[in-house]
C-alpha cells in the first residue's frame, strides 16, 4: 500500500507541476485511485483532518471567497489605488511604490489572485494615462502581493494550511510573520528603483491625465461599502479574538460571508461567481493524497530522514526548510508543496523540545513557500494571472522577463528571512 500511495502521489505531482493535465484532474484522479485501491477509505479521507480533507481550510477559503466577491463590488480598492496614484503626482517611481504597498497590504487580507485582479486594471489605466510601460509595474505588484500575502493567516492559501496543521492562530501570524513582511517590504521598496532602472520616465505633459481621474466615481454604492466594512471588521475581530471566542477561522469566515450576503442584497450569481470551485476541489483531492501518505507512514519516515539529515539541530532544519521551500515553490505551485510538507514539519516539530524552535520550523515553511512563489513566472497563481492580464492589454511578459527579476527578489527576501528567523528564535528567544 505504501508503494502505491507514493507512486500515485508522485505521478499526480508530476502532472500538476508540468500541467500535462489540468491540476484538478490530477488531484481528484489521484485521490480516486487511492480510494479505489483501498489505500485510504472514506473514514480517513473525509472525517480526519490528519489523513484526509481538512475542511477548516476548504471552508475558510470558501467564506473568504464569498466575502471578497461582495467586497470587490464596492469599488473601494479602485478608489484607494487611484487616490494614491494622484498623490504620487504622476511620478512613476512614487506611483510604483504606492501601488506596490497598497497591493501588499491588500494581499495580507485578501487572496493574492483577487488582489492582483483588482490592482492590475488600475495600474494599466494609470500607466496608459502617463504613457509608460506597465510591465515593470505589474511585475512589482505581483511580487509585492506574494510578499504581503505572507503576513497573515488568510493572506495566502499555504498559510491557511500551515495554521490548520500547526494550530497556530491568526494572532500568531500577526506576531511572527507580519514583522518579517514589514521588513521585507521596506527592503523591497528600496530595491525597486534599481530592479526596474529605466522604467520611470514619463512625459510631464501627461501627468495631468492622472490628476484628472476621478476616484470618487469608483464608489457607486456607499451603503454597500459601509455594510461590507462593518462585516469585515466583525470577521477580523473574530479572527483576532480566537482566544476569547474559541471560534475557528473557518466558522468566522462562513458566518461573515452569510451575514454579508444577507445584508448586502448582492445577487447570488454575483458572489457565487467569485467562488473558485476548482480550487476548493483541488484542495480536497490534494488532502486525500497527502493524507494517504500520512496514513501509510510515508510522511513520518520522511520526517525521520529530514531529522537525521539535520542531525537533530533545529537551526539547520529551519534553514533547510526555508531554502528548499523557496526553491521548490518557484518550480511547483506552493499549495501542493505546503500541503505535503506540513505533516512532515508537524512530525519534525514533535521532536524539537524548545517550543520557539518548533514554531520557527513553521515560519520557515511559510516564508520559504510564500516568498518562493516570486521566483518564476509560474511560481504562484497570481503571477500567471498578471501575465494573462498583461498579454490581453498588449503588453506581454515573457517567462524570462519575469523570472530574471523574480529570482533576484526571492533571493533577497530569503536572505532577509534567514537572519530574522535565526535572531528571533535562536538568539533572542
Amino acid at each position: 500500500m505504501t508503494v502505491v500511495a507514493v507512486v500515485v502521489f508522485v505521478v499526480a505531482y508530476v502532472l500538476i507541476a508540468t500541467e500535462w493535465t489540468h491540476k484538478l484532474l490530477a488531484a481528484l484522479g489521484g485521490a480516486a485511485v487511492l480510494l479505489a485501491l483501498g489505500v485510504t477509505d472514506s473514514e480517513h479521507a473525509f472525517y480526519s483532518p490528519d489523513t484526509g480533507i481538512d475542511w477548516n481550510v476548504v471552508f475558510l477559503l470558501l467564506g473568504m471567497m464569498i466575502i471578497v466577491g461582495v467586497l470587490r463590488r464596492t469599488g473601494v480598492f479602485e478608489y484607494v489605488a487611484i487616490w494614491a496614484a494622484k498623490r504620487a503626482k504622476g511620478s512613476p517611481l512614487r506611483v510604483m511604490i504606492l501601488l506596490t504597498l497598497i497591493t501588499a497590504t491588500a494581499s495580507a487580507f485578501l487572496d493574492n489572485v483577487t488582489t492582483v485582479l483588482l490592482i492590475a486594471p488600475v495600474t494599466l489605466l494609470v500607466c496608459d494615462r502617463l504613457g509608460i510601460d506597465p510591465v515593470p509595474f505589474l511585475i512589482a505588484e505581483v511580487m509585492a502581493s506574494n510578499i504581503g500575502g505572507a503576513a497573515t493567516l488568510i493572506g495566502d492559501p499555504p498559510n491557511i494550511i500551515i495554521a490548520s496543521r500547526s494550530g497556530l492562530t491568526f494572532n500568531d501570524f500577526l506576531a511572527h510573520m507580519t514583522p518579517l513582511v514589514v521588513i521585507e517590504l521596506i527592503v523591497f521598496t528600496l530595491v525597486l528603483p534599481w530592479l526596474f532602472k529605466g522604467s520611470f520616465t514619463a512625459d510631464p505633459d501627461r501627468v495631468d491625465n492622472v490628476l484628472r481621474l476621478n476616484e470618487r466615481e469608483a464608489i457607486q454604492d456607499t451603503r454597500l461599502l459601509l455594510k461590507s466594512g462593518a462585516v469585515l471588521l466583525l470577521v477580523f475581530t473574530g479572527f483576532v479574538g480566537h482566544a476569547v471566542f474559541h471560534v475557528e477561522p473557518s466558522v468566522v469566515a462562513l458566518l461573515g460571508a452569510g451575514l454579508l450576503v444577507l445584508t448586502s442584497g448582492v445577487p447570488t450569481k454575483d458572489y457565487m461567481g467569485s467562488v473558485e470551485w476548482q480550487t476548493l476541489l483541488f484542495f480536497a483531492g490534494l488532502f486525500i493524497m497527502v493524507g494517504a501518505l500520512v496514513k501509510t507512514g510515508v510522511i513520518s519516515d520522511l520526517a525521520d530522514q529530514v531529522g537525521k539529515a539535520t542531525e537533530g539541530k533545529p537551526l539547520l532544519a529551519v534553514m533547510l526548510i526555508l531554502t528548499v521551500s523557496a526553491v521548490l515553490s518557484g518550480i511547483v505551485d506552493n499549495i501542493p508543496y505546503v500541503a505535503t510538507m506540513s505533516p512532515v514539519v508537524l512530525e519534525l516539530a514533535k521532536n524539537v523540545s524548545d517550543p520557539s524552535h518548533a514554531q520557527a520550523l513553521w515560519w520557515a515553511l511559510a516564508a520559504g513557500a510564500d516568498f518562493g512563489g516570486n521566483a518564476t513566472a509560474i511560481g504562484a497563481s497570481a503571477n500567471v494571472v498578471v501575465i494573462g492580464i498583461a498579454l490581453r492589454a498588449g503588453n506581454p511578459i515573457s517567462f524570462w522577463d519575469f523570472t530574471r527579476k523574480g529570482v533576484v527578489i526571492t533571493a533577497i527576501t530569503i536572505l532577509v528571512a534567514a537572519p530574522y528567523l535565526w535572531l528571533r528564535y535562536f538568539i533572542l528567544s
Binding site: 487611484i82 495600474t123 489605466l125 481621474l213 476621478n214 457607486q220 492580464i389 490581453r392
Partner: protein, 143 residues
C-alpha cells in the same frame, strides 16, 4: 433578399472602416481577403470592444473614473491600424449564405453565429449582404 453592401479588405485603414460604419449606421462590415473572397464579418460591436481598453473590460467601474475629455481619446487607438487588427484574435466562422437560401436558412445562420450581418455569395463571389433588420423586414412583410 440580398442588398448591395459595402465591403472592406483586411488592409483597409481602420479609421476609414469605422467612419463607414458610423456614417451609414451599419451593423457591421463584410471583410474580404486579397483575392476579394469573403474573409469575415466585422460586427460594429467588435469595433466597440476594440476601442474599450482591456483594463476597462476587466474592471468596468474604471470607465466612470475617466473624465469625458480623456474618454473621447479612445478613438486614438484606430490610428495606424488596419481592419485586420480590429478582428477578433480567434478566427470566427464566416457568416455566409448562398444567394438562393431561404429566409429560415439565413435566420438560422444569424442566430447560431449571433451575427447581425451575413454575406451572400454566388459562385464564391459576394453579391450582397443581408442585415438582421432586412431579414426581420422580410419576416413581418404581408404575404
Amino acid at each position: 433578399m440580398a442588398e448591395d453592401y459595402p465591403v472592406v479588405n483586411l488592409d483597409t485603414d481602420a479609421r476609414e472602416a469605422v467612419e463607414l460604419l458610423a456614417s451609414r449606421r451599419l451593423p457591421g462590415l463584410i471583410v474580404v481577403d486579397e483575392k476579394g473572397k469573403p474573409h469575415s464579418v466585422l460586427p460594429a460591436s467588435q469595433v466597440v470592444r476594440f476601442l474599450v481598453p482591456s483594463y476597462v473590460q476587466d474592471d468596468p467601474s474604471l470607465a466612470r473614473v475617466i473624465d469625458e475629455s480623456l474618454a473621447d481619446q479612445v478613438a486614438d487607438k484606430l490610428s495606424g491600424v488596419t481592419v485586420r487588427k480590429l478582428l477578433p484574435s480567434e478566427p470566427l466562422e464566416l457568416p455566409v449564405v448562398n444567394h438562393d437560401d431561404t429566409v429560415l436558412e439565413v435566420a438560422a445562420i444569424m442566430a447560431r453565429l449571433r451575427c447581425p450581418l451575413v454575406a451572400v455569395v454566388k459562385d464564391k463571389e459576394i453579391v450582397g449582404a443581408i442585415t438582421a433588420s432586412r431579414l426581420l423586414e422580410l419576416v413581418v412583410a404581408p404575404h
